[in-house]
Each structure stands twice: as C-alpha cells, then as structure tokens.
C-alpha cells in the first residue's frame, strides 16, 4: 500500500491544480439523465487506456512487455466495424473481434514462451504487422458505421454512468478476482520474480505466459471496440496509436517493476488516471498546444523520479549527511563464473 502513496499524491496535486484554474472542476451534475463533469470525462476518456494498462500490468509482472496492444486496438475496432457495416449482428461482430484478439495474443505468448524470443522483439512483430492487418481489414479506408447498439459500447450510458466506465469496472473486478482471489496473481508474480525457481517448483510457466499475453490482447481488443464505437468508425492507421507507450507508463507510474515480479492493479489504474488527468490539465491551464508533449514529458519524468527512493534520498537528504560514506556496492556486484 505504501508504494501507492506517491502516485496518489501526484494525482491529488494534478486535481488541485485543475481546481485552481477551473473552480468548478470537481462538480458533477446530472444532465439529461447522464452524469456530467470533468471528473467523469477523465474516467470516460481514460477508459481505453486503463483497460490496456490492466492487461499490460500482468504482462510486465511476468517480466515481459507487449508493444503490440496499439495495433490490436486498431484490429479489433476494424473487424467489428467491418462486420457491422456488412449487417452482422452486434454479438457476432464483437465475438469475432475479441476472438481474433485472443488469437493474436496467444500468438505473442507462443513467440515468447514457446520459441523463446525476447518479448520486446516478439511483440514488435505484431506491432508492425498488426497495423497492416488492420488496414487490410478496413481496405485502407476509414469504415464508418451507423449502429446505435454498437455506439452503446463507447458512447452509451447505463444508469446515468457512461458505459465505458462500467466496462472498465467489470474488467478490473474480473482481473482482481482472477489474480487475487484465485491463485493466478501469485503464479504470475512467481514466474516474473524467478522463472527458473518457478519451473523447479512445478509451475507451468509457459501456459501462464501465453495466458497473460492473450489476456493483454483481449483487454486491448475491448479498448479497441470502445474507441471505434465512440466515434462510430474504424481507422486502421490511427486507432490506438502509441497507446502501448502510455500503458507501459501507467504501469510503471503505478509501481510495478519492469523487471517483473510484484504488480499492483490499483497502482496501474492510478497511473492511467494520472496520464489522462495530465492531458486534461494541459488543456485547462492553457499550455500552448505546440508545447503539450514537452510539458507532458517533463511531468512524467518528475513523477518517475519522485517515486524512486534513491532519488528522494539524494535530493532531500543531501544536506543532512555531512560526510557521505563511499558506496560499497561495486564489490558485491561482480560474481565469478
């Protein structure tokens, strides 16, 4: 829990900044039977990122990484919109799209666990090829659909709550159940913490790894449906572009180590919210558009640094330590072979 303190503090700080510039920032109203307000917008627009980041968290916990989720977002939206534009039912379209995503994720997992390709390379293949696949599905065009049922996924409301938020809540709850109530979380952390020891303890790490990549792709697929449904169109080129990087960032801000091992779903959600709030903040405090990315980069760098215990030690305790003891770490690092 303690490691969630810093991300939470950053989020509060960002929100406070917004309140300072826009006093009505925190107010939530009901208009036309829908919840309405800046906070709701952050959740609603952040929903796809949160979904992708949840899947990414599990992948990173096994010591891997998935660069292909952005392409999977595009593929899922493209296939669903294509089906609907060809008069398929909503259920068929969604099932086909998510089924394809599961297959693609299993492919990633097979490359990593079955063949032993480094995750960053294995998923880079689908990151590049997936964009092509998405364009193949859309025929290089932007497919627009006019289906109120499909529009519901990303743009609809359920009991005044935007439906995207409901989906995120459900996926989060299911993931938390699978990993924390069932034993999946412990086995994932074990594989990520020490793969060889896990194998010798009898864990079928290959199966776990394939499952985790498939799950990440499934999450990306749902996010893809959400994004394309929100705009009622599928853009093979730009849907989900660079979302994998934001997702990785969210996971890291949330305190999960890129080296694998312990992971925190709550941390990841906080991380994704920080990123989304930051985007909102940039608009609300009037940062010039051309410096937006630079501003974002600076804030993210600051967030990452403030979370590092050794950085805090250096900055905040420098004057207290009159004589710094010489670092004795060098000696222990080198191991004979």
């Amino acid at each position: 829990m303690r490691r969630l303190v810093w991300p939470a503090a950053v989020l509060v700080l960002l929100l406070a900044l917004n309140v300072f510039f826009t006093p009505s920032f925190l107010s939530i109203q009901v208009r036309d039977g829908h919840l309405y307000g800046s906070l709701i917008d952050i959740l609603r627009f952040g929903a796809p990122l949160i979904l992708v980041a949840i899947g990414m968290t599990l992948v990173i916990a096994t010591g891997g990484i998935d660069l292909s989720v952005g392409s999977v977002v595009a593929i899922s939206g493209a296939l669903a919109c294509l089906q609907i534009s060809q008069d398929a039912g909503l259920f068929t379209a969604v099932a086909l799209a998510l089924g394809l995503c599961l297959l693609l994720g299993a492919w990633n997992g097979f490359l990593v666990a079955g063949i032993g390709i480094q995750p960053i390379i294995a998923t880079l293949i689908l990151m590049v090829a997936g964009r092509g696949l998405a364009q193949l599905i859309t025929g290089g065009q932007i497919i627009t659909v006019n289906s109120p049922a499909y529009k519901m996924i990303g743009g609809g409301y359920w009991l005044t709550v935007p439906f995207g938020i409901v989906i995120v809540a459900v996926v989060l709850a299911v993931t938390a159940f699978l990993t924390r109530r069932l034993a999946l979380g412990m086995l994932i952390e074990s594989v990520g913490g020490n793969a060889e020891a896990s194998r010798l303890a009898g864990i079928r790490s290959r199966g776990i790894i394939v499952m985790v990549y498939a799950f990440a792709a499934l999450c990306a697929g749902v996010a893809g449906l959400m994004i394309s449904s929100n705009v009622s169109s599928a853009d093979g080129n730009n849907a989900g572009l660079w979302i994998e990087l934001d997702a990785i960032l969210a996971v890291v801000i949330g305190g999960t180590s890129l080296a694998g091992g312990r992971f925190s779903l709550a941390g990841t959600v906080l991380g994704a919210l920080i990123i989304q709030t930051l985007t909102t903040t940039i608009y609300s405090i009037g940062v010039p558009p051309e410096t937006t990315l630079l501003f974002k980069a600076l804030v993210v760098a600051a967030v990452c640094l403030i979370q590092s215990p050794s950085f805090r030690e250096k900055v905040f305790h420098r004057r207290r330590r009159a004589v710094a003891p010489a670092p004795a770490t060098d000696e222990k690092v080198r191991v004979t072979t």
Binding site: A183, R199, L200, G202
Partner: protein, 502 residues
C-alpha cells in the same frame, strides 16, 4: 628454487565483505616456469584471491609483490599491463569477431590511425604459433571449438608480455582430447618461463599438470605443497578440513530395505554425467558424495526432471516413468531442494507464506487456490516445526537469513508429502544450529518411510545420515558403499581420490 626466484609473492592478504571474511592472511607465491594449482572447495576464497591479485578488489591488508616491487593494481587492465593475465572459465570473447580481432582487440596494430589488417593477421598467427596452433585467423571465432576458443583467449592473454597467467577453471567445458591439447600448450608456456596459476576441481588434471599447489579453506591458507609430495587423499582431507569430532550416527541399527522406490538404470546426460545406475528404497537415506563438479547436482537434476536424460530409464515403484519436467516428477511424489536456493529455489519478492505454498499451488493449478485458512494453518505448522524465524509468514523471504530461507524451501516440499526428497547441499552456508535441526529432520523423515537422496560436501554429514553412500568422481558414479562400521570419512576420501580403483 628459493624465495628470491618468485615472480609473484602475495603475503598476508585479507579481504572482508560486509558480514564475511573472504580471505584471512593468505600467502601465495608463484615461481617462473611452474604450474601452480590453487585448490579449495567452493567458497574457500580462490576467486576472491584471484580478484585481489588482478585488482578487481582492493586488499584490506597484505602485500602483493611482482618481480620484487610492491604493486597494487586499480583493475584487471592495469594488472594485465604489468604482465598478469587472466583467462576465465567462460570464454570472454566476442564470437562474432574473427580470431585475429579477438586476440588483438583493443591493441590493433595501426597505420595512420587505421587498422593495419595485414600486420594484425600476421601478429595473431605468430601468437598462435607460440601455442603450436595453426588456425585461419580471419575465420570468425564462433566457427572454432570451445577448446580452440580457450586457446585463443590464452593467446590474447600472453600477447602482452605475460609473466603470470591465471587460468580459472579452464577445463570445465572441455572434453578429454581438448584438455590434452590445452595441457600441451601450458607445458610450452611453462618452458617459456611463464608462471601459471591453475584453478580446477578436477583432481586428475591437477596432478597431471601442476608442480606445486596452495590449498585454501574457508578463506584461510592451509598450506603450500609440492604436488608430488601430497597424495590425493591428503589433498582432499586438507580441502574439506576433517573435523576430528566423534561421529554420531543418527541411524543406529542397520535396517534392510527391500522395497525399491526409484530405480535409475543407465541414466545419463551427455556433457553432464555419465550413465549411472542407482536404486533408492523406501525409507532409505542415500548419500551422494564427491567433490564439487563431480556430477552430484547433475544426478539430482536428472532424477527430478529438471534436465532431460539422454539415456537410460527411470522407474518409480516398478513402473517406467518419463520425467520430462519437474512437474512430472512432482506427480510421482519426487521433490527437489536445489543447491542454489537464491537462484533455483526462492522467489525473493514473495512472502514466506507464498513461497511455502508455491509448489502445492502449482500442483493444484491457478484455478483452485489453496484456501487461505488452509494456507495459514500449513504455514504456521511448518514455521513452528522448522523454527523459521522471524515467525512472520507475511515477511518477504528475501529478508530472511540463509538458514531460514533454506527451511522455507524445505517446508515448501514437505507439505507435498513426497516419497522421495532430494536435498542438494541443504546445510551449506547455514549456521550450526540450523544444520543440526535439518539433519535431525532428515533422520525423522526417513524413519517415517520417506526416501531421501542427500547431497553434501561434508563427508561427516553424509556418513551420519546415510544408509548407503554413492561416490561420484569426474562426472561418473564410481562406487556404492554400504554405510556400515567399516565406512569412515577416510575410506570415503580414499574412494573420492582414487575413483574406486583402490
């Protein structure tokens, strides 16, 4: 050959790391034109001594004299410039570069700032000819055999007027012919007046090549001996450090075992251990004795399915089984506590509780979690029974001491109630109290009908616990000795040293 002739003298070297004294007043002297073996069990301080010598670590106390002048190197590069070159066990070369590039990397002959390829190839060929090797020096290193790569590393090492050549386990990945080839090269270098420091776990090789040896034990100097005057038995005794304490055998009466549990017939793995035949009966403790690198761990890993056997057949309770994965072995109720608990045992980021139930959870699969009450009950029972301290199941296992970590790994396997428990060095690096507890536990378990395969470098311990002892030497199972009154540590050492031929 007197003191004055020594090319290198180390005196009173001490090196402390936080919590351990790695070296305590060690002396070493190397004479020109000799092969000097540095002997000692794992953790005796051989590697640390080499690192102090080459400047990787600064010494806390003591002096190093090279050719009469006191020196203190800031790093391996400085040591190399002064004439001390090291070749490590794993070949530290770039397989994608050519032989010539590897030999002269960093000191390529240049002309007007550009590499003079012609001179470079000529120089490399000349260095190799000093080793009586002729190779195509422009071929990529990856096309050479491991032995040749080792020679290339040596050629690289002697390029800079080497006076001292350190070989750290140079033969561990070579076959017999390759070793012979390496030794021809070493003899040749010896004739050229180079002092060679040779580290190896293979006794035969040490006796074949070395002139004198220095023996270390637990960071202390045992002594320096001419190889001819020290018999293998006495060498082993000095390395292991025979304690003269009275041997208390935990198994008083001699039982007979007639129900074979696990039988291995002709099981072996190329490059790891020669085919062996071994039977473990129910309730029997079988000790595996042998020096480090003799194939003890390899035998254990084959019986657990951690590695695939390339030959032979294993039966459990009379039926042939295929142990292709640890999981398959676990299904036959075989458990394995590995020697290297940090790398192959614990998940440091998980808690004591999670580490203990990990194997049980693995056998159940992720969909059927062990209920929390059952976890807590199992864990608290074993934390208490094994006296794991601190007795806090939610502590991260990385924060425990070595002995307690070992108990956590033991507990993980004990809750599976295995029929065969393989313990690889379960008492290494842990304190005396924990050691005695683990030994008592092994005796108790076997009285309860569990078979135990017990691996330890400490012969007393093997004798105290085992009903029979299997002796390994140079990756071959050379003898099976019933543990009766005639079997003593001396007999065991004799067998280890002679390979069962005596």
């Amino acid at each position: 050959m007197g003191e004055a002739a020594a090319v290198l003298t180390m005196k009173g070297i001490c090196k402390r790391f936080p919590g351990v004294t790695a070296l305590d007043g060690v002396d070493l002297r190397l004479l020109p034109g000799e092969v000097h073996a540095l002997m000692g069990e794992n953790g005796a301080g051989k590697s640390t001594l080499i690192k102090v010598l080459t400047g990787v670590y600064p010494a806390d106390a003591g002096t190093v004299e090279l050719g009469g002048a006191t020196v203190a190197f800031g790093g391996p590069l400085e040591a190399q410039r002064a004439g001390i070159s090291t070749v490590y066990q794993e070949v530290n070369l770039c397989a994608n570069l050519s032989v010539a590039e590897n030999i002269l990397l960093g000191r390529e002959p240049r002309r007007r700032g550009r590499i003079d390829w012609k001179r470079m190839r000529a120089r490399a060929a000349e260095l190799l000819s000093r080793l009586e090797l002729s190779l195509d020096v422009s071929a990529p290193l990856s096309s050479c055999s491991l032995a040749v790569q080792q020679m290339v590393a040596i050629a690289r090492a002697i390029d800079v007027d080497a006076r001292v050549l350190i070989l750290d386990e140079p033969t561990s990945s070579l076959d017999a012919d390759e070793v012979a080839q390496l030794f021809r090269v070493l003899r040749r270098l010896k004739e050229q007046g180079i002092a060679i420091l040779f580290v190896s776990h293979f006794l035969d090789q040490v006796y074949e090549i070395s002139d004198r040896m220095t023996i270390l034990r637990n960071g202390r100097l045992v002594g320096e001996y001419p190889t001819r005057e020290l018999s293998p038995v006495r060498l082993v005794a000095k390395m292991i450090g025979q304690e003269l304490a009275a041997l208390e055998r935990l198994h008083g009466e001699h039982k007979t075992f007639d129900r074979p549990l696990v039988e291995a017939r002709g099981v072996g793995r190329a490059g790891a251990v020669e085919p062996f035949t071994l039977t473990v009966h129910e309730g029997e403790v079988v000790g595996l004795a042998g020096l480090l690198g003799s194939g003890r761990t390899e035998v254990a890993r084959l019986l657990f399915g951690a590695d695939h056997a390339s030959t032979g057949e294993i039966t459990v309770g009379g039926t042939p089984v295929s142990l292709r994965t640890p999981r398959a072995a676990m299904n036959h109720k075989i458990a394995f506590c590995s020697e290297n608990r940090k790398e192959d045992g614990l998940i440091p980021d998980l808690t004591v509780r999670e580490n203990i139930i990990l194997a049980l959870q693995a056998t159940r699969g992720w969909t059927r979690p062990v209920p929390r009450e059952q976890q807590d009950e199992l864990v608290s029972r074993y934390v208490e029974a094994l006296k794991i301290s601190p007795p806090n199941p939610e502590q991260l296992v990385r924060n425990l001491s070595g002995g307690n970590q070992q108990k956590v790994v033991l507990a993980r396997w004990l809750i599976l109630a295995p029929r065969l428990l393989i313990l690889d060095e379960p008492t290494r690096g842990i304190d005396v109290g924990a050691k005695a507890e683990i030994q008592r536990l092994v005796a108790q378990l076997s009285d309860g009908g569990m078979a135990v395969l017990f691996i330890s470098a400490e012969l007393e311990e093997v004798l105290r616990l085992s009903h029979k002892v299997e002796v390994l030497r140079d990756r071959r199972l050379v003898a099976e000795l019933p543990n009766d009154d005639r079997l003593t540590t001396d007999v065991l050492m004799e067998t280890i040293a002679s390979g069962g031929r005596a």
